[in-house]
Symmetry: C2
Subunit: 331 residues, 2 copies
Amino acid sequence: MQVSNLLFTKSAANALQSWCHEKGFESIYFLCDTNTYQYCYPVFKEISDKVIVIPSGETHKQLRMIETIIEQLVAFGAKQNHLLVNLGGGVVTDIGGFAASIYRRGMKCINVPTTLMAMADAAIGGKTGVDHQHLKNYIGTFYQAEMVLISTEFLATLPYEEFISAWAEMIKTGAILDAGLFKMIEEDALLDDILKRCAECKQSVVQMDVFDRSHRQLLNFGHTIGHAYESHYLNISRPVKHGIAVAKGMMAELEIAKTSGYLTETEATRIQSLIQTKMSVEPMTLAEWTEVKKLLWADKKNTGTDITFSLPVAIGKGKFGIKMKEEEIKI
Amino acid sequence: MQVSNLLFTKSAANALQSWCHEKGFESIYFLCDTNTYQYCYPVFKEISDKVIVIPSGETHKQLRMIETIIEQLVAFGAKQNHLLVNLGGGVVTDIGGFAASIYRRGMKCINVPTTLMAMADAAIGGKTGVDHQHLKNYIGTFYQAEMVLISTEFLATLPYEEFISAWAEMIKTGAILDAGLFKMIEEDALLDDILKRCAECKQSVVQMDVFDRSHRQLLNFGHTIGHAYESHYLNISRPVKHGIAVAKGMMAELEIAKTSGYLTETEATRIQSLIQTKMSVEPMTLAEWTEVKKLLWADKKNTGTDITFSLPVAIGKGKFGIKMKEEEIKI
């Protein structure tokens, strides 16, 4: 299966216009949330005035929003060979990709990520979907956008905390897949360069395993525990940023990698230091860990009674499908 | 892409039990409508008592039904590697296949068709979906069931009109793809033999073109006009069976094939005669044709101002993507 092309640009509007012209799309529609409609869509308004605007935020990432989008696509007379441009962060690209994948059994779409997190991770890889009540991404498809158009011009309007959060996925990708990327982050390379390397790294692992059955699971590093951490705080109505949860998850999973002998103490410490430097995140407290452990056994990434981890075995090299029993998991 | 295996059997329950045992499914769920729950599910009740029952009929083939099914899958604790068995006619296999395709980005499913139409056509090929209000199959995916298990044991409880309707798809398949199948129908071969040949023929054309971009469009013979005919009667609240609409569509499209020189008069007449013999269907009246023509230009299978047909060029051989202008279309 062909995975999405990545296109890096300094001007998304020009790049999109040329690309659409070359492909000869008869009609183009934009999907925005209320934020990206206000801050990002204006540069594209010459390309198309057919815009679908959805409320911003994860709470609207539900099946009924898909029905709303499809209603508007029908009203526009959208056809399979028309183009939907998903303009936004991970929530918009998840929702828009899913709507495109099921509208008349699949219409063309591209992602134009507007957050650092979406540029580095969420907009790439073809995982689409919505939540089912509180269950994250329980309804979705694997569906490759025609292209992911990446331009850091949109980051100017992004809140600081969104930057912090994105570092988690970039450090994760470097730590488990790409020593060069990890070093670039350590050495404070230019953000554009780090981002490009991270996006390309993600794309290449997706290319190896589109349906997330093997190698792609390396990207779950930090997410087994991170997801449980995120759920815990959601359950007590104090939601945390996904990136923060992943960082906490990585800190804990690095302890496990160390004590179980997968990773040397030196390398584990090096990754933990980078997380602390870039994100000012401390390891979770014992009280938190007690709560998180309870949720771990309900984590959707596990299929049996064991917990499955993806762990680095060296900087830039990982192992997936590591199964551990409750008593083996100590942080 | 791997398309669904076909398995023909005289006892669906035994065949399913052995197959599931061999594959080692941890959990199995059934999706039935109220009819198949009553008449067909009982033979499977030893295999699993986890059953999702939906109301029968096309009117319930909507996105909200998918949400209901997913809610029940969540309640059962269904995982991606568990099995959903879609037990029913085309509506159930369309809905169930779609639900399976989007539940946690895809869980395993098989189809056990219980109507002749579904055995010969609808349950095979991986087109899943629901309607969006009155728009047929506007929301869906291409998703291959692990297997289509075909047993004519269920036909004993099927109303006579459902048999009649299924002949349309079988004659269509023979007329445009398989001269041998066409001859078997003409010569009144055993229904089991005709069905097996038809199902295998459909499967082989799907294998050539899973996503319906080329050869598979041959299966649209009779459907360009048939779909408009069906819509017309739906609009005036006198719905007709899909098979009857397809038969009317084939009768009309054969006239077009004849006058435009694609098919000889002798062969066109031979196909028309078989439709009349098997289905007691007459060509549509001039009054009907006047209404149908208006709807043709709104038909979802067309992407420009021309109308696209798939027509036989000889018995068992067809051509797809034939574009015609309004003035060329005469019946």
